[in-house]
């Protein structure tokens, strides 16, 4: 069902959009800048209690006994929940592959420092924390599994009860003739890489308010939840609740970056609510809990990678072996982050023969959880760094080797070796724009001059793609029983009220991506009304249409599809009513620029408001089959996706946005500090519904990428103790560390997605780490050294400098 490029007025019934494609003001902002938006932590329910969680101080220990009697007696304490109840009331937390998780609370033993061991509910959080100190737990420490490379050997100890292995997932994918390509190569480059774990760290932590009514059996959840379609099955599986008995009311999110599904804690707080028999209980994760305890860490990776090339720079083959330290459990959908590279193994490049082997290991560290860009940033870094190495070896300019391997503009739609389809792109054009806009030739001269002065100045020029709207198909490779589905439904309801105003109901709340504003822009254009005439609200999980929400760079695509679908259905209804009002045939009525009129007949026109008012006022005059309800729903689904076959060959995503970034750095030879001197990006995400919002996404992703490349790292000692449990040591970039980047737009509309948009929400995080890290290595190049470990902290850079031959 591939459509052509966006056409007006076929897709949007306007001759010229007034809002779509413009820097439209956001409807989220007025509440946010006045402090009136109600985030999860702002919610207070009558009689609400507050939960605090006791966490394991040991990475791996048997729980010999728990005595909560003193805590229970503290005035203000309502209940204490321990492993015994959790085990009898629930099943282990959902995870893929199945069988590699534990309960929401440690039962027989603890698996990482920070694992929940008990939960207290009290009249306020202060008292709840007082009570935590009164719980006595007797631990018997066990040998810790703190190193994935040791864990992979198969020898014990084992993290999970009943397992004789720490390898949760082990899979090799091969496309084309990889041995042949390496045998016939003129040049082979290979390298090991290490990417340390970091995370999303939204400034708002996770919040869950649970209320389990013993009379009705209804479990109501409020707070900073994302994606009820993911949380609900987890609750059904773990708690055995009946789906219609669960109501999830989503609050606006103070950022998510992947982490706000937090199923473990939703289960845990729900169980506490069960124990409280009808009193609501709130858990607000504090920052230390967020850093040590939640399933928020991501990508703890060891790579071994090789490229096979011809003398002219053509990459003919790639082998990538990945070991990822998943932490204590293969919890939730974390395994998907190992699989996502299958969507774009060769990134922007035509690499015909690819082998990708990935292993997911469990160790006594915090379990991984979903993170923005879902595993691709390290993948692209490794590939781009090897391209730089190969270019040097072959005597090619860095951009030349990339040009020679880029998928060409005329080769789209491009079917990748793993079967995924890139819808459109112009990577060479984007690179050209980047080099022009950044003054690349001048930068090279500056670099040359700096080097002649003994300064370590380097450039990174890298490419990536951002697969738009991924989801179940890739997870089918790890859990076919559950994820053999091609759908990622996004549904919406659109209504015109008796005053002619438009109302849209979404299945997800504001969370930074401007989702409500997009809907408003599109609807205002569709029906020719002002922005102020459109209201957009979030509805709860029992009222909403099937919805996937803003995950996996999908929102602009799926939501646009949903809004346009619902608007078209509503317009069709209104056309049939307008036909009565204009005394014409329904087929002859058209909607253009907000006016219903008889096609080809000048004269009387009707606004949507007039038609809807008539529709509600005069049921006696409505045509057959039309009720007096001016509303419509539509559930959009991605076209053309397939379930991968046993080789891993499938069509996984919908769009492929492309990005090219340039980074110039200077390394301080004496201190190892890296300073970003210049940063320029070109992004091609097709049609931009709201350019300033897209720019904001890209800038935010870039900043996140700077953090991952230079600052952010969860550090553990050999006993599995986490050494970065506060913001004093886990370092988010501030305005001082993030460069003043330039952003330039390239637009290759998607031929598949509605209005030609492409997913861009995960944004520049795909590309920035590679740009920064390649730039650092370029700076070090005259010294004959190369760093293959990220983040490149001053200490790591300095250590490498000590090994320089000069």
């Amino acid at each position: 069902m591939a459509a052509a490029e966006p056409k007006l007025p076929e897709q949007l019934p306007v001759t010229q959009p007034r809002h779509v494609g413009k820097d439209s003001p956001r409807m989220e902002d007025p509440l946010m800048v006045t402090g009136k938006v109600e985030y999860g932590n702002d919610i207070r329910a009558p009689g609400m209690l507050h939960a605090a969680i006791l966490r394991s101080p040991h990475a791996h220990a048997l729980i010999k006994s728990i005595d909560a009697s003193r805590a229970e007696k503290l005035p203000g304490v309502a209940a204490v929940l321990t492993g015994k109840e959790v085990k009898s009331w629930s099943r282990p937390v959902f995870g893929v592959p199945e069988g590699w998780t534990g309960y929401a609370l440690a039962v027989e033993k603890t698996h990482w420092v920070g694992e929940p061991v008990a939960v207290i509910a009290a009249t306020d959080r202060y008292i709840a924390e007082d009570a935590l100190e009164l719980i006595e737990v007797e631990y018997e420490p066990l040998e810790t599994v703190a190193d994935a490379l040791k864990a992979v050997t198969g020898e014990g100890p084992y993290v999970l009860e009943g397992k004789q292995s720490n390898v949760a997932y082990d899979r090799k994918f091969s496309f084309g003739d990889v041995p042949g390509s390496f045998a016939a190569a003129d040049v082979i480059v290979r390298e090991r890489f290490r990417w340390h774990r970091s995370s999303g760290n939204p400034i708002e932590t996770c919040v869950c308010i649970a209320d389990w009514n013993p009379v009705t059996g209804m479990l109501t959840l409020r707070g900073s939840h994302r994606s009820p379609h993911l949380i609900l099955p987890a609750l059904v599986i773990s708690l055995g609740v009946s789906s219609q008995q669960v109501r999830i009311i989503q609050s606006p999110l103070g950022g998510s970056f992947g982490v706000k599904t937090f199923a473990r804690y939703v289960i845990l707080i729900s169980l506490m609510a069960k124990k409280l028999k009808g009193r609501a209980v709130k858990w607000t994760e504090d920052r230390i809990e967020h850093l040590i305890g939640s399933s928020t860490h991501a990508w703890d990776r060891h790579y071994e990678c090789a490229l096979a090339l011809k003398q002219d720079g053509t990459v003919t083959g790639m082998k990538m072996e990945l070991i990822d330290d998943l932490g204590a459990f293969s919890e939730w959908l974390a395994i998907g982050m190992l699989l996502k590279p299958l969507l774009c193994l060769g990134s922007c490049y035509r690499i015909p023969n690819v082998e990708y082997a990935c292993k997911g290991l469990v160790t006594n560290k915090t379990p991984q959880g979903p993170l923005r860009a879902f595993g691709l940033p390290p993948h692209f870094w490794v590939l781009e760094q090897l391209l730089d190495v190969a270019a040097k070896k072959l005597g090619l300019e860095r951009n030349e080797i990339r040009r020679r391997n880029f998928i060409k503009k005329e080769e789209f739609p491009y079917v990748s070796p793993s079967g995924n389809v890139y819808d459109s792109g112009d990577y060479e054009g984007s690179l050209k724009l980047l080099l022009e806009k950044s003054g690349y030739d001048r930068l090279l001269k500056e670099q040359e001059k700096a080097r002649s002065e003994g300064r370590l100045v380097g450039l990174g020029v890298v490419s990536s793609i951002e697969p738009g709207l991924t989801g179940p198909p890739m997870l089918a490779l790890a859990a076919p029983r559950i994820f053999s589905r091609t759908s990622s439904p996004e549904g919406i309801l659109v209504r015109i009220d008796g005053f002619g105003k438009l109302i849209a109901e979404l299945g997800f709340p504001p969370g930074g991506q401007s989702q409500h504003s997009f809907v408003r822009q599109i609807l205002a254009d569709y029906f020719g009304v002002e922005l102020e005439d459109v209201q957009v609200i979030t509805v709860d999980s029992l009222s909403m249409q099937p919805s996937t929400g803003p995950i996996s760079s999908s929102m602009a695509i799926a939501l646009t599809g949903a809004v346009l679908g619902a608007a078209a259905r509503l317009a069709d209804k209104l056309k049939r009513v307008a036909a009565v009002m204009l005394e014409a045939r329904a087929d002859d009525i058209e909607l253009l620029d907000g006016q219903f009129r008889v096609r080809g007949v000048p004269g009387k026109t009707l606004a949507a408001a007039q038609v809807s008012q008539f529709m509600m006022a005069r049921p006696d005059l409505l045509p057959e089959g039309i009720d007096g309800n001016p509303e419509a729903t539509y559930v959009w689904n991605p076209p053309d996706r397939t379930i991968p076959d046993e080789r891993g060959f499938g069509r996984y995503s919908v769009t492929a946005a492309g990005a090219q970034h340039l980074c110039m750095v200077e390394v301080d030879r004496a201190t190892g500090q890296v300073k970003i001197l210049k940063y320029v990006m070109v992004d091609d995400c097709g049609v931009r519904l709201n350019p300033s919002v897209v720019r904001g996404m890209l800038m935010g992703g870039m900043a996140h990428g700077v953090g991952a490349a230079l600052l952010e790292e969860y550090v553990y000692d050999e006993n599995g103790q986490m050494l970065t449990s506060s913001y004093m040591d886990y370092l988010l970039p501030t305005i001082m560390e993030v460069p003043a980047a330039e952003e330039h737009e390239m637009c290759t509309p998607s031929p598949i997605a509605p209005l030609g948009v492409k997913g861009v929400g995960e944004g520049a995080l795909h590309t920035t780490p590679a740009a920064v890290l390649c730039a650092v290595n370029d700076a070090l190049e005259p010294l004959g050294i190369r760093i293959t470990e990220a983040p490149m902290s001053p200490l790591r850079v300095w250590k490498a400098l000590q090994g320089a031959s000069r």
């Binding site: 924390e129 100190e133 230390i288 201190t671 506060s726 370092l731 970039p733």
Partner: protein
């Protein structure tokens, strides 16, 4: 992350505050700016039975001239370093250094004396106190005693201050007129504690082109700020140029006592301390030249 229970006092006079502290025999903690204590309370890493909030003791809120230097009371905020003319005139180094101390929202509450009493070895103010020969006034019920900065800091977060004493004042004498100063640090981000930092002072006899005096105080490289006198001596009498800086940098590494943490190793800190020695001395010399250009030509 909520503080444990404690008894809270906010006396109006120093006498009252001292009586409360004295009555609680080491179970009390003085709360001034709170920028270090409050995070520790929130994390329950500090668990005093009694918190004595001295913010309401008006008599301790001052920055005033003292001989040719400045006396700073316990309730004077770090922001004052950037705002008070007296500091700008008499102790421009403190004004310059304030930029490195956290962020404006911290400096608005954080006190100068509080930072000194907290004695984080990676903080700027203890090193500045050492560099400028500050004296610290510890007051107890039996009276006040004056402690030179080089015997005030004992170890990590440990000072000569007794549990029943309050650091009521720090006195910064005016530094020698002919001395120029610089402060430099390497930290992971702007406003973070230093991995390695240095306060350097330099005086040069212009005619002889020889260093006549030098001060080198390092922070973040030991349990306290460390003055490396060997390195200072290596400079005296030398021509103020790279060879002298190199010599001082070489010696500096021997005088410090750095340790390992996740952000830096002992070796890293030694190497960076050497580098900062050279950079700080270059910067100080530059200022000395500016100083001479503005006054010397007259």
């Amino acid at each position: 992350m909520k503080p444990p229970r404690f008894d809270y006092y906010d006396p109006r006079t120093l006498q009252e505050a001292l009586e409360i502290l004295d009555a609680h025999q080491g179970d009390g903690k003085v709360l001034a700016g709170g920028q270090s204590l409050m995070p520790l309370l929130n994390m329950r890493l500090a668990r005093p039975k009694v918190v004595v909030d001295i913010n309401r003791i008006q008599a301790l809120s001052y920055i005033r001239p003292m001989e040719s230097g400045v006396a700073i009371g316990a309730n004077a905020r770090q922001r004052a370093l950037q705002q008070e003319n007296l500091i700008a005139e008499r102790l421009p180094l403190l004004r310059e250094a304030a930029y490195y101390i956290a962020h404006p929202q911290i400096r608005s509450r954080g006190t100068i004396c509080g930072s000194l009493a907290h004695a984080d070895p990676a903080a700027e103010l203890p090193a500045l106190a050492m560099a400028l020969d500050a004296e610290l006034v510890a007051t107890g019920l039996r009276g006040a005693r004056t402690i030179p900065s080089d015997s005030f800091f004992l170890s990590f977060f440990t000072t000569d201050l007794q549990p029943n004493e309050i650091l009521t004042e720090v006195r910064f004498p005016a530094p020698p007129k002919d001395m120029a100063w610089s402060i430099l640090e390497v930290s992971r981000r702007h406003g973070d504690f230093a991995l390695v930092g240095i306060v350097a002072g330099l005086a040069v006899d212009q005619e002889r082109q020889a260093v006549t005096d030098a001060r080198l105080i390092y922070f973040g490289v030991g349990p306290t700020p460390i003055r490396v006198k060997q390195a200072e001596r290596a400079l005296i009498g030398q021509r103020p140029a790279e060879a002298a800086w190199d010599a001082a940098a070489r010696v500096a590494g021997q005088g410090i006592d750095p340790s390992n943490d996740i952000h830096a190793t002992e070796e890293y800190r030694r190497a960076v301390a050497a580098t900062l020695t050279k950079r700080a001395l270059r910067a100080a010399l530059g200022k000395l030249k500016d100083l001479n250009a503005s006054t010397g030509s007259a």
